[in-house]
C-alpha cells in the first residue's frame, strides 16, 4: 500500500516527493547560512570611517561647547574672573577630540587597519539588506513548497516528520495542492 502511495507521489523527472523535500531542506539550510554569514560580516571600511568621522564631529562640537560653557565667569563684571567650565565625565572624550581630532582619528584608524587587514571588498550595507530580503523570500517560498509536499505525503498515508524549526507561516498556511 505504501509502495503504491509512493508511486503516486513520484514527480516528474524521476524526482520523488522525499527527494524534493530533502533538496528543499538543503536549500533552506544553505540560504539561512548565507544570511548568517552576511550578518556576521563587518560593515565596509568606508562606512566604518564615515561613522568615525560623524562621531568625531559630534564629539568635537560637544567638547568645544563644554570648554566654553563657563565663559561668563571670566567676562561678567559682577564676578571675580575665574575660568571654571562645567565639565561632566561624559565631556572628557569630547574634550580630547575637540583639542586633537586628528590624533584620535589616526589612532582609531590604525585599529581599523587591523580589523580590515586581508579582507576582500565588503558589500555595502544597503546591498546586504537587499540580499537578506531576497534570501528570506527564497526561504519562505522553499518552506511553503516543503509543507505542500509534506501534506501530499501525509495525505497518501505515509508517515513523515516536519522540521521542529519549520517556519510557522508555512506550516499554518492555506496551501492549494
Amino acid at each position: 500500500m505504501i509502495g503504491a502511495a509512493l508511486k503516486r507521489l513520484t514527480g516528474t523527472g524521476g524526482v520523488d516527493a522525499f527527494g524534493r523535500i530533502e533538496a528543499l531542506r538543503s536549500e533552506i539550510v544553505v540560504a539561512k547560512a548565507e544570511i548568517a554569514d552576511l550578518a556576521a560580516l563587518p560593515v565596509p571600511r568606508a562606512e566604518a570611517e564615515a561613522a568615525l568621522d560623524a562621531a568625531l564631529a559630534r564629539l568635537g562640537q560637544q567638547g568645544a561647547d563644554a570648554l566654553t560653557s563657563g565663559l561668563s565667569s571670566l567676562t561678567r563684571p559682577e564676578r571675580r574672573p575665574e575660568f571654571a567650565p562645567e565639565l561632566g565625565t561624559s565631556d572628557l572624550l569630547a574634550l580630547v577630540v575637540a583639542l586633537n581630532a586628528q590624533t584620535v582619528r589616526a589612532t582609531v584608524g590604525k585599529a581599523l587597519d587591523v580589523v580590515y587587514r586581508g579582507r576582500k571588498a565588503l558589500p555595502p550595507m544597503a546591498a546586504r539588506k537587499a540580499k537578506t530580503a531576497e534570501l528570506e523570500a527564497k526561504i519562505i517560498a522553499a518552506e511553503i513548497e516543503e509543507e505542500r509536499l509534506i501534506r501530499a505525503v501525509e495525505a497518501a498515508g505515509i508517515p513523515i516528520l516536519r522540521r521542529a524549526d519549520a517556519d510557522p507561516r508555512a506550516v499554518l498556511a492555506r496551501i492549494v495542492q
Partner: protein, 124 residues
C-alpha cells in the same frame, strides 16, 4: 510575502500529529521495558541451569543463552527506534507549540479549547 492562513485546522492537525508521535514513542518505550524485563527473567532462569548449580543443564543453559542474545538484539533495535521516535515526538511537540505561539501572537484563529482535537492530549 502574502500568505493566507488556515491556522485553526492546521494547529489541530499538528496537535494530532504530536499526539500520534508521542503515543508511538510511549509504545516503543513500553515494548523496550518489557523486553528488558524478559531478559532479566531469562538470565535468572539461566542461572538455575548454570554448570556449578545443582540443577545444571548444559543444553537448557545454552538455549537460554541464545534466547537472551536474541532478546538483547531486539532490545538494541528497540532502543534505536525509540530514540528516533522520541526525537520525532519532541520535534512535533515543539513545532506545535511554536505554531500555536505564532498564531496567538498574530491574532490568528486557534482550535477551540473545548474541541477534543484542540490539544490532542499533548498539552495536558
Amino acid at each position: 510575502v502574502n500568505i493566507q492562513f488556515d491556522s485553526a485546522a492546521r494547529l489541530a492537525h499538528l496537535a494530532r500529529v504530536a499526539e500520534v508521535k508521542a503515543a508511538e514513542a510511549r509504545d516503543l518505550q513500553t515494548r523496550r521495558n518489557a523486553v528488558a524485563q524478559l531478559i532479566g527473567q531469562k538470565r535468572r532462569e539461566q542461572a538455575i541451569f548454570a554448570p556449578h548449580e545443582m540443577n545444571r543443564d548444559a543444553k537448557r543453559f545454552d538455549e537460554l543463552k541464545a534466547e537472551i542474545a536474541a532478546l538483547e538484539g531486539e532490545r538494541d533495535d528497540l532502543d534505536e527506534t525509540f530514540r528516533i521516535a522520541s526525537a520525532g515526538s519532541t520535534d512535533a511537540l515543539r513545532l506545535h507549540e511554536a505554531c500555536d505561539f505564532f498564531a496567538a501572537q498574530n491574532g490568528l484563529p486557534r482550535p477551540s479549547i473545548f474541541s477534543s482535537r484542540s490539544h490532542g492530549g499533548v498539552i495536558a
